[in-house]
Symmetry: none
Subunit: 399 residues, 2 copies
């Protein structure tokens, strides 16, 4: 990676807020119409936009649709193509599991298998988190020679399994066939160096099947996203920042921890996030504030509900501003247009507001207004550099 900022970074007491509305970017519901953000009544974002530098960002690159983890990595200043992150690692980091170099983590979904061993429900009737936690307790009985296994609940039917031992590798294919009516796949090494881990995973699945045999509906497990810890320089190392994540959902705390952020635990909603932000204010200088539900509503295909989520965050904005951040970035990690019901590759609107910003007079925070903002369309990983520069956190390069 380009580590120029590391040579130039200088600590000061200026405070930066990165407010992420997950999946913010959108599309019009009908040809010629407005996007979700353009439709939303957002007086606070609009007031900010008028005195801000606006633009669109490409989290990964032209035409590349970002997953959540790479989308956030970009916002934290990293090239997601350079630091691929497996699903297992995101899950483990999300629940604060202390993975070590050489560990291999995988996402574990509890599932329902029929008498013949075929999958009848990939989500085991969406069992509640408490049930999931109980099943994870039962799986402590699994014992594999030379490999320590940890199973931890995440949310609902979702859990994570971490393999700890010598000679492990993430070169193992998913066991989740992503289909019903077929048996789970055997864990197979995708490369010779994955053999030992594939064998351990096979043992684990077999023992889990025995332990869960009498359970209903969760009598089986599906594993996917085998992953090792990537080596990512921390935001502290690169930027001399002391960053903290204020997020409700585990996965976003997970990505934040990967780059060395602290993450506040047990936040239920915006109000709790607001309190946590105020409580963390003095001890930190970079605040990653994450709102999930813009993305969820986009994934649901619910245009109006996504509009409402945007308006909810807009109404909340004054609680952030009253803390008087020196600079605030408002953006998304990718687009999730309701009409697409999925992440898309469309560039994401952003605004950067602070003392040293050139106000571009954007009247309404929206995709097309931002396209005509001062910055045009830029790589997502550059937003943090602009924020650092505009708060005096990057020294001059050269004499």
């Amino acid at each position: 990676m380009d580590t120029t900022p590391r040579e130039l970074a200088e600590k000061n007491d200026k405070k930066i807020v990165l407010l992420v509305l997950d999946g913010l970017g959108g599309l019009p519901r009908e040809k010629g119409g407005k996007t979700e953000l353009e439709t939303a009544r957002t007086p606070n974002f609009d007031a900010l936009a008028a005195s801000a530098e606006c633009g669109l960002h490409l989290p990964i690159g032209f035409g590349i649709t970002p997953g959540s983890a790479p989308g956030h990595l970009a916002l934290f200043g990293y090239d997601p193509l350079e630091f691929p992150i497996g699903r297992g690692v995101v899950a483990a980091m999300g629940i604060g599991f202390p993975m070590k170099p050489g560990d291999v983590a995988a996402r574990l979904n509890f599932a329902t298998l029929d008498a013949a061993g075929a999958i009848s429900d990939r989500r085991a009737g969406r069992i509640p988190t408490e049930k999931c936690a109980g099943l994870c307790e039962l799986l402590k009985a699994v014992s594999i020679k030379g490999v320590e296994v940890f199973v931890r609940p995440v949310k609902d039917y979702r859990a994570v399994v971490v393999f700890h031992g010598k000679g492990l590798s993430d070169a193992v294919a998913d066991t989740d066939p992503q289909a019903m009516g077929v048996k789970p796949l055997d864990p197979v090494a995708s490369d010779p160096k994955g053999e030992r881990t594939a064998q351990a995973a096979k043992d684990f699945v077999a023992q889990a099947r025995g332990i869960l045999a009498s359970q209903s509906p969760a009598n089986g497990v599906l594993l996917r996203g085998f992953a090792e810890l990537p080596h990512i320089p921390s935001m502290k190392d690169l930027y001399k920042l002391s960053p903290v994540a204020i997020a409700v959902y585990p996965d976003y705390k997970g990505v934040a921890r990967l780059v060395g952020m602290e993450a506040v635990e047990d936040l239920a909603d915006l109000d709790a996030q607001g309190k946590a932000l105020a409580a963390a204010w003095d001890a930190h200088d970079f605040f990653f504030f994450h709102h999930k539900y813009t993305d969820s509503k986009g994934e649901d295909g619910d245009f109006d509900a996504k509009v409402k989520e945007i308006e909810k965050v807009d109404a909340f904005l004054p609680r952030i501003l009253e803390l008087k951040p020196d600079l605030i970035v408002v953006t998304g990690d990718h687009s999730t247009p309701a009409v697409a019901k999925a992440h898309t590759a469309h560039p994401v609107p952003f605004l950067i507001a602070g003392e040293a910003t050139r106000a571009d007079g954007t009247a309404k925070f929206g995709e097309r207004a931002c396209a005509r903002g001062l910055w045009g369309t830029i790589p997502g990983r550059m937003l943090i550099r602009i924020a650092l520069a505009n708060t005096g956190k990057l020294k001059k390069f050269g004499a």
Copy 2:
């Protein structure tokens, strides 16, 4: 090259049309005036632009004037700086000659030499293609030890020569001095590894001089653009596309074949191209539709004639649209302003219209309107990624 799309490409039945008006970009005839495209009456392009994402693209990079081959390579998604293509290869591929790795091709122009051996006409009075074909037949008599030689007619006085044998290299300088009244240059190796090929080319030129001695006006040959086949991954390999070229001129079919496109043969004009497009519709999902004469008229310095060629393609557009492509890109491979009578480095206007595009409300398809379009100015090789993403042909990156 960045092969991220290869990992993400997913085949579906969506159809993409890339409509290239060669040399589309222009300049005003007089200060303060309009460019060719801005002058042209283009109701169909304008209607498309209003519901499209518009911008300008740089085929190679800032300040770099593209040749035809690199300009097109960029539109097909390749970095032209990474895949330099010699003129000889473009010529050979254009006529469908099956070059093999290690072969060296050069463009051969029949020329008129005076009694002293100096060039009196670099194009031999622009002899017709049939005459050219006859001369190529005569040159079959050339015999070089250890090297097979193929001479094939292209168009008018233009032909191509391919050397096949061991130890050949394209490190050989042109014999065409690009001037009149001087003798053709000897083929000289520009690097020691080109010695063997330079010697073969020298033999070839000498024998050709003997064979053509009694001919008039074509009694000599000029060679330029010695080139080996480059190693370019195909569009099928990279994007899982099944692409086809609908072009009149051989060189454009040649570049298309280099990236693994099929190319329809024997197309005389737009009408024939329209029929070929319809005929190819079911069997392919990417259609490169090329119109040459916008560039030709620009090279001629004929502003009005270039305007008319643009209007001709605009009038033809409905025949493409009635096939209901899922996405269409309209652009050029470079600029050829009539006032410059040559290719220039000016960015080239583009529009991308499809279901999942954000309409930027551009009222008139033109250079300055596109500069204010949603995309601003972007690398030409990224257009195809946007097209692929907007037709669901690239999966999400990361979890």
